[in-house]
């Protein structure tokens, strides 16, 4: 079953007004009506089209997981906790100068820089934290520009709007670094390529990030602004459990907020998200519980495998084995997110058979709901 053909009216009634919008940006960029502004998708005027790409590629409108998985991996949606994967490992950049700026091991920055240097991609759509510490989408076209995008703000950012803005006659090969919701939207685009935009076939590399939830770029930013001198902030971090902190690093040291205080700023939609590890990416990257300075890396596709292999060969990435306890914890956490989210979805829809946007096989749905 494919996403039904609907327009922006339904996008608002089914997604935005129900708190499901993830601010992924897939509906913005080309559309003159839908615009991202300060943590909201604003509708500038009445669009009367009955069928819109805004609705079609939204990661919170219907997704047939098997169909999408078939498109990306050639197999139906995996019942494994971490989705389809070729290999799970630990990695960190061999460039020690980078480590202070990057999140954990710097694997994403390293892989992107390599992909650019090797001509594997010509540019990458990333999130850049601007001077006022608001995240904004950015098309990086050099290693230097990739470096400008290191670190995470943990706030949602409409990255896909930047992809949509690329002129349709532009043939440059692209990489995208995305949150799980955004990776879903890209997977939808791969299944049914958008019209009047740069070809989705140009997207050669999707690096997905691990995500348990993202923070509201509006409300959380206000909170930060009220509690910190944002101009002095160097880096944000949520260290893996059991730290339970949100850390802000400045030149003078670290300020921490208890995670409980931060959690109220999470995007409501994250409650209904099943995907912790960007299951439709070429490569998924996150932290490693208990081991600082390293990244967990899940290689999912041949493209992902080739790139990591090249990084290893060229001495850009140091690769390690992911300890089995870490893998077990990661799987547990991922499964827990799926179960929780699906139960929340049923609570929201009020019907065990209505999983809102999630198109799972009944068997897997029952298993997760059990």
């Amino acid at each position: 079953m494919a996403t039904e053909a609907k327009g922006c009216k339904e996008l608002f009634s089914e997604v935005i007004e129900t708190g499901l919008c993830a601010l992924c940006g897939a509906c913005t960029g080309t559309c003159p009506y839908l615009v991202y502004y300060k943590g909201r998708i604003a509708l500038l005027d009445n669009c009367a089209l009955l069928k819109g790409q805004c609705y079609e590629y939204c990661p919170r409108t219907y997704i047939g997981m098997d169909v999408i998985s078939q498109q990306v991996f050639g197999v139906p949606y995996s019942e494994e906790e971490l989705g389809t994967a070729k290999e799970m490992l630990m990695a960190r950049s061999t460039d020690t100068s980078m480590r202070e700026k990057v999140q954990y091991g710097g694997a994403v920055t390293t892989l992107l820089s390599l992909a650019l240097a090797e001509g594997f991609i010509d540019g990458a759509v990333l999130t850049r934290t601007s001077d006022d510490k608001t995240p904004s989408p950015f098309l990086a076209q050099s290693a230097d520009e990739v470096l400008q995008c290191t670190g995470s703000s943990y706030m949602a950012c409409p990255v896909l709007g930047r992809y949509n803005q690329i002129p349709k006659d532009n043939g440059n090969k692209l990489g995208i670094v995305a949150m799980p919701c955004q990776v879903l939207a890209v997977a939808k685009m791969k299944k049914d390529p958008p019209e009047n935009r740069a070809s989705i076939g140009n997207v050669k590399l999707v690096i997905g990030l691990f995500c348990t939830w993202a923070l509201s770029p509006d409300r959380f930013y206000q909170f930060l602004k009220e509690n910190l001198d944002l101009s002095k902030v160097k880096k944000f971090d949520i260290p893996p459990p059991p730290a339970n902190r949100f850390d802000v690093y400045t030149a003078s040291g670290r300020t921490s907020f208890p995670l409980e205080q931060i959690r109220k700023f999470t995007m409501p939609t994250c409650t209904y998200c099943l995907d912790m590890t960007s299951e439709f990416a070429d490569i998924s990257v996150g932290s490693v519980e208990g081991i600082g300075g390293w990244n967990t890396v899940i290689i999912r596709t041949d493209i992902g495998a080739d790139l990591v292999e090249m990084a290893k060969k060229k001495g850009k990435l140091q690769i390690g084995k992911l300890p089995s306890t870490n893998l077990t914890h990661l799987k547990e956490a991922s499964l827990l997110k799926k179960k929780r989210a699906l139960n929340e979805i049923v609570k929201k829809s009020g019907d065990k058979n209505n999983l809102l946007y999630v198109g799972l096989s009944p068997r897997l749905a029952d298993k997760l709901l059990a």
Binding site: C31, P32, V35, K38, A42, L44, D45, A48
Partner: protein, 645 residues
């Protein structure tokens, strides 16, 4: 506009009603004329200003109607005949002064007020009959029924004003003001005017001359005496006349343009020997004797007049006071429903009323003929709603306002005002304007909305106002907002023109009505002097304008000013060539396939852009497009291309 200062007595000129008024004023020897533009009155001062230097008189566009009337009164106090003209709304603006002026009386120079009403509100925000104010103020009121009368009445009214020592009023309507007819010219006075404020005007009196309404009860009784005298004059006036049989089946009582409709109707029905027409030119005080002499012409009276039942009610009052033995006619008119109680009249409506009363079969105009006539009339008219001109800066401003309000997301409210931009309550301004009343009213309303924070109100408030309207009536509202810290943004749409009424100069233009350069009253200097945040934007810089509005809305904190400055396109286009040559790239515009849902021709709606049904894409209408280039920033495909000329 016609030359109203032709010195050729006895010859006939084709003049519109407003020119006839101006000519009448010149023949009366006025030295001073002041007005604020407003359709259908604008050509009165317009033509006087044109002739002013030649005629040695002074004419000005005043900042508003109240100042115009007060200035004209000043001239009268110094012995100069003076005229103030305005549309119906101006009468409201000036009424406080008038209510005091009638008590003080005028000076030695005759003072005449011309009010042009706009039945059906063809060019107005409201439909309003100003005749009742004459009753309210106790001033003589006349209304001309054709173009010759228009000129002659105006001339005569100055004599009457001087004789009575009171302000006199002439009421006109759109179909007199803007229609054209033959006028036989009279003499133009040659005498030199001398202005002098005579401190002791009465040689027997040792009291200094004062013009003030006190002691009011005494002065009120004087005013009534003046009105009694006016009535005497009106009883014998040639502007009132009866045409018809001695005994009629129906007596029409009418005035103004309705006299013309009544004559047409009676003629069309061939009822000249059955229906009489009593035409009144002097409406207030009512010439009761004259009317009484004709009341026994028929048992049935039909009142044909536009907007309010002014004559109908006045004659009813009069009849109620007749001796018991007098005939009691039946009244037909607005009260009985035979004549519409609002909107313009026309001969057909009068024909219908007469036919109904006399029990004749009403023959509406042949339907086939009507259809043909309408089709013919429409054949050369483009199919579109009221719209801003191609290249109009207001379209850019409202595009910016719309987008800024949507991005802000708090449901911001735009209060509107009087001018071209009033149309922003419709599709051409993207339905942004939500209130619209009188000059300056939008800023006043914004003052209230902007103080509702304590009741949970957090919607941004934008008051849009034109440049001329800003000077006219908005400054006190802005001062109030700054002083009382009302949270709104006054958005001044400064197109450097009083565009709606025909590009009359105003205090911001650096030009007087008589074409002399003058000081520019800087609106930003004026606003800055209030100590408030003032921004000046070019609305064609859409991104910057939207960003400025968003910042101003976000910061809150009392009344602020955003000036949207770009010259009216009609003014610019008269002086310069188009800045760009604009075309739609047929490769890039992919029409219905775009996903923009025809943004440019469905939402943006510049008349310079048209939807080519055959090609299924947009194109530029080269005849209409003024080459402003704004649409280039609106097309999401970058399909509209501008090249500098």
């Amino acid at each position: 506009m016609a030359n109203i200062d032709i010195d050729a007595p006895g010859t006939s000129q084709l003049l519109i009603g407003n020119e006839a008024i101006a000519r009448g004023a010149l023949e009366a020897g006025i030295g001073f004329a002041a007005a604020y533009p407003g359709t259908p009155s604008s050509e009165i001062l317009g033509t006087l200003a044109q002739a002013a230097k030649e005629m040695g008189i002074y004419a000005e566009w005043s900042v508003n109607e109240k100042v115009a009337m007060e200035a004209a009164a000043g001239a009268s106090f110094a012995g100069i005949r003076a005229l103030a003209s305005m549309k119906q709304n101006g009468i409201n603006v000036v009424s406080d002064f008038l209510a005091n002026l009638v008590m003080s009386g005028i000076g030695k120079g005759g003072l005449v007020l011309v009010s042009c009403d706009d039945p059906s509100a063809i060019s107005s925000s409201n439909e309003q009959d100003t005749r009742p104010i004459a009753k309210w103020l106790d001033i003589p009121l006349v209304e001309p029924g054709d173009f010759q009368e228009t000129k002659d009445m105006t001339r005569w009214l100055f004599d009457l004003a001087e004789e009575l020592g009171t302000l006199c009023m002439l009421r006109s309507v759109t179909r007199i003001a803007h229609a054209r007819g033959n006028v036989r010219l009279g003499e133009l006075p040659k005498k030199q005017l001398n202005a002098y404020f005579d401190q002791i005007h009465d040689l027997k009196s040792v009291m200094p001359t004062t013009f003030m309404p006190i002691p009011s009860p005494l002065r009120h009784s004087f005013l009534h005496m003046k009105m009694d005298k006016a009535r005497e004059r009106f009883e014998g006036s040639a502007f009132n006349r009866y045409v018809g049989p001695n005994k009629a089946d129906l007596l029409i009582i009418t005035c103004g343009s309705c006299w013309l409709y009544s004559q047409d109707a009676v003629k069309a029905l061939k009822l000249e020997d059955r229906v009489g027409i009593l035409k009144l030119g002097t409406l207030w005080p009512l010439p009761e004797k004259f009317i009484g002499e004709h009341l026994d012409k028929s048992e049935k009276l039909l009142f044909v007049e536009e907007i309010d039942p002014f004559l109908e009610r006045s004659v009813m009052e009069m009849v109620a006071n007749l001796p018991p033995s007098s005939p009691r006619p039946i009244f037909y008119g607005k009260r009985s429903g035979h004549v519409n109680a609002y909107g313009e009249l026309n001969p057909d409506r009068v024909i219908k009323a007469i036919s109904t009363i006399l029990g004749l079969a009403y023959q509406p105009r042949d339907i086939e003929y009507r259809k043909k006539a309408e089709a013919f009339a429409k054949s050369n008219v483009p199919e579109r709603t009221m719209t801003f001109c191609a290249g109009c800066p207001h379209r850019a401003t409202f595009w910016a306002i719309k987008n800024a309000l949507k991005l802000d997301g708090r449901g911001g409210v735009v209060t509107g005002d009087i001018g071209c931009y009033s149309m922003a309550l419709g599709p051409t301004g993207f339905f942004q304007v939500r209130t619209m009343h009188c000059m300056g009213g939008g800023a006043g309303v914004a003052n209230g909305l902007g103080k509702l924070g304590q009741f949970g109100f957090d919607q941004p408030v934008l008051a849009v106002v034109g440049d001329s309207t800003f000077y006219h009536a908005t400054i006190p509202a802005l001062i109030n907002g700054v002083y009382n810290q009302s949270d709104f943004i006054l958005v001044i749409l400064d197109n450097s023109a009083t565009a709606m009424t025909g590009f009359q100069p105003h205090p911001g233009t650096g030009m007087t009505a008589m074409g002399e350069p003058t000081k520019v009253v800087s609106m930003e200097a004026l606003c800055c002097s209030l100590g408030t945040h003032v921004e000046v934007c070019d609305p064609f810089e859409l991104k910057g304008t939207i960003a400025t509005l968003l910042e101003m809305m976000a910061e809150g904190g009392g009344a602020k000013v955003a000036i949207m400055r770009r010259q009216c396109e009609l003014v610019r286009a008269k002086k310069e060539k188009p800045p760009y040559r604009v075309h739609v790239d047929p490769e890039k515009c992919i029409g219905e396939a775009c996903g923009c849902d025809r943004l440019c021709t469905r939402v943006f709606l510049c008349p310079g852009l048209i939807w080519d049904k055959k090609a299924n894409r947009s194109k530029i209408d080269e005849v209409i497009c003024t080459g402003c280039g704004l649409c280039v920033d609106v097309c999401p495909q970058g399909a509209i291309i501008k090249e500098a000329v």
